[in-house]
């Protein structure tokens, strides 16, 4: 039996439409190895491949079914796993959906002996870790107009998930966190958060902003503090990097030699 590959446009609705098609055409049979993937994935000569168009109606129906199956909590869990970025993503998600529907109404998210369920749990863990790190590794710099700005580059697209956290924590300050990898930012204006495309920011002249007069002073204090708390007799670079991987250093104030400029840099 040949593999069957369903290709979609890469959006989440596209994925859900593909799931709909899989059930509609009864491709969900144990003797078919079914994969769902986006159109950018490499082709496979030995598989039958279908290009699907995204149908919001079908996507809606699948999504409603999954809601009924998992509840709000379960859907949140699944969506976190779906943020994990890799080529097998859709096939694993499909596996989770199949296993859930086959075992309904029993809850399946703790079936760690099932490969897809276990993989999903590991993905959720990775995404949650990245969320947690992005709460920690954001470094705001104060601009002359009083807005606190921070560039970050998370592995997964977690900014929308953690924006409410920052809005609660910094309720009385305007802030902007820019995802440099995905070229957009979250802006909080003391009442609500909005998403802005980075080129839009450029038009508004964000990167021409001057730094607040005190900003370099506090950055230097933080760098001093970072150095003063180290205990040289206990040096442990391996552990240091394990906790704070090198890829995050670029935007960490304490890892810069000179005070970091406020501008969100351009490629």
């Amino acid at each position: 039996m040949k593999d069957v590959i369903l290709r979609h446009d890469g959006s989440f609705d596209g994925f859900l439409s593909a799931v709909f098609t899989a059930y509609e055409r009864k491709l969900i049979k144990s003797d078919i190895r079914l994969r769902i993937t986006n159109t950018n994935a490499p082709a496979d000569l030995f598989a039958r491949s279908f290009e699907l168009t995204t149908d919001p109606e079908k996507a809606q129906r699948v999504w409603r079914r999954l809601h009924a199956l998992w509840g709000a909590e379960g859907v949140r869990y699944f969506l976190k796993g779906a943020l994990y970025d890799c080529t097998e993503r859709d096939t694993v998600l499909l596996g989770v959906i199949r296993h859930s529907i086959a075992n309904a109404p029993r809850s399946v998210f703790t079936d760690y002996a099932h490969d897809d369920i276990l993989t999903l749990s590991q993905w959720v863990k990775s995404v949650q870790r990245e969320m947690h790190r992005m709460k920690a590794f954001v470094r705001f710099a104060k601009a002359a107009d009083g807005i606190y700005c921070a560039p970050v580059a998370p592995d997964f697209d977690v900014l929308p998930l953690i924006a409410p956290f920052f809005a609660r924590r910094y309720a009385d300050q305007r802030w902007l966190i820019a995802d440099m990898r995905r070229q957009y930012a979250v802006y909080y204006d003391l009442t609500s958060t909005t998403l802005l495309a980075l080129d839009e920011l450029a038009i508004q002249g964000w990167e021409q902003q001057n730094v607040d007069a005190e900003e370099p002073f506090y950055q230097r204090l933080w760098q001093d503090y970072f150095r003063a708390t180290n205990i040289a007799e206990r040096a442990n670079r391996r552990l240091h990097i394990q906790h704070m991987p090198l890829r995050y250093w670029r935007y960490l104030t304490e890892k810069q030699h000179a005070p970091k400029p406020i501008t969100t840099e351009k490629k």
Binding site: D111, A113, R139, R168, A171, D172, E214, E233
Partner: protein
């Protein structure tokens, strides 16, 4: 107006002097923010890590390193020739707020050398916390170090502003403390811990009927024990910690391998290695008491007062209690799964959840994150397990020790002579 250069200089001195305090936890607090600045999240957040690998979540500083006491192990002791400095109340407040707004920290950890007298020092610290809460509308985490011999009223006041209060016992045995800190007494530390404990309990009770009762040190209290400055045994340390958890209801006990920075005939010489492996084993023992259901007297048996340095204490327990193994992964109660070497608490819970619908194999539990290279000698699964035959082998300990702890090999060889 703040003098920049002077503040920078003070920060370097007073952060350096505070760095030997291990605690940096910002967890367990739950403070909501209503329109002001900051909140405390239940899990706590580590914002950065020092190059020695310790987490930094709080701005940990001394208010002053002037001290009237002369405790041998402390860099701020009165007879030590170091540069002295003291923050003003305004400076600490400005540092905390400005660091917090830039997301460098979760809050403030304020300790101090004792200047003038204990009450005066304690009142100054309270003033800072009060100003942060009431004038700056700050709801981030505040950890205040209780000053030994400060009046109970002051400790009660501190608990109204702080998320956590702590007082360091430092030297685990009364005799060791008498030798290194002749002006202090264990009772000076235990008395305020009791005040805090009683206050937490009383206000918790009161809140059941009167909802507006203020919160008192909602993240509880903690303490620190210095390891290896005096000749105490691990058994003594574990007993002290156990008392702290059971009788004084502490949230955390920290262990700090002594870093020899002072020339003193009562202390290990400068250049002596920091007992990091011993410290690590004590933390593992602590975890066994707090999360794995072990009693203090199970961790070390009567004859041996020291933890094994080359294997972890859970594995050591299992090797001493081989008659309780193997256990069946499919049927054993959670408490026993938690006692299997190589299975941590997360994998244990996963195993118990997953086995309801599936007969588990070694491969399953490996994928769930257990260290099967250790666990395989102690568990029965639904497939043939050839390693079980080795459970009674006399050299099993040797095999397990060489198999899994390579990262400490070097530290071990350098450190062994200290404890033998």
């Amino acid at each position: 107006m703040i003098n920049h250069d002077r503040l920078q200089n003070k920060l370097t001195i007073l952060a350096d002097a505070a760095k030997y305090d291990v605690s940096c936890s910002s967890s367990g607090g739950k403070r909501d923010n209503k329109g002001g600045l900051g909140n405390a999240s239940k899990s706590g957040i580590c914002h950065t890590y020092t190059e020695d690998g310790r987490c930094v979540s709080l701005l940990k500083i001394l208010l002053s390193n002037h001290c009237i006491y002369d405790c041998a192990y402390c860099v701020s002791r009165s007879s030590n020739d170091v540069e002295r400095a003291a923050f003003t109340v305004e400076e600490v407040v400005a540092l905390t707020i400005n660091f917090y707004r830039r997301n460098y920290i979760e809050g403030l950890f304020l300790s101090s050398g004792i200047f003038k007298n204990p009450d005066h020092t304690m009142s100054r610290m309270i003033l800072i916390a009060k100003k942060l809460r009431e004038e700056e509308n700050f709801h981030g985490y505040i950890h205040l170090k209780t000053i030994p011999k400060a009046a109970p009223e002051l400790i009660r006041e501190a608990g109204l502003y702080a998320d956590r209060l702590s007082i360091n016992m430092e030297i685990p045995t009364p005799s060791g403390l008498a030798k290194l800190a002749p002006e202090k007494d264990h009772q000076d530390m235990i008395a305020p811990m009791k005040t805090v404990r009683d206050e937490i309990v009383a206000l918790k009770d009161m809140r059941k009927t009167i909802k507006s009762t203020p919160k008192f040190a909602p993240a509880g209290q903690s303490t620190q024990l210095i390891v290896g400055a005096t000749a105490e045994t691990d058994r003594q340390i574990i007993d002290v910690a156990n008392n702290c958890y059971k009788k004084l209801q502490l949230k955390r006990v920290y262990y700090s391998g002594y870093v020899p920075v002072l020339e003193d005939s009562r202390l290990p010489a400068i250049g002596t290695a920091v007992p990091q492996v011993r410290e690590h084993r004590l933390y593992q023992a602590d975890w066994l008491m707090r999360f794995y259901g072990f009693q203090a007297d199970e961790i070390l048996d009567r004859q041996s007062p020291f933890l094994d340095l080359d294997i972890d204490p859970k594995l050591a327990w299992a090797l001493r209690h081989r008659h309780q193994f193997p256990i069946h992964i499919q049927y054993a109660p959670l408490e026993m799964i938690l006692r299997v070497p190589g299975i941590g608490s997360k994998s244990a819970h996963k195993i118990v959840a997953a086995r309801r619908n599936e007969r588990l194999t070694l491969e399953h539990i490996r994928k769930m994150g257990a260290a099967v290279n250790r666990a395989k000698y102690f568990i029965i699964t639904n497939e043939h397990n050839p390693h079980l035959h080795q459970l009674d082998d006399l050299d099993l300990k040797q095999r397990l020790a060489t198999g899994s702890h390579s990262k400490y090999k070097q530290a071990l060889s350098g450190q062994m002579p200290l404890f033998t």
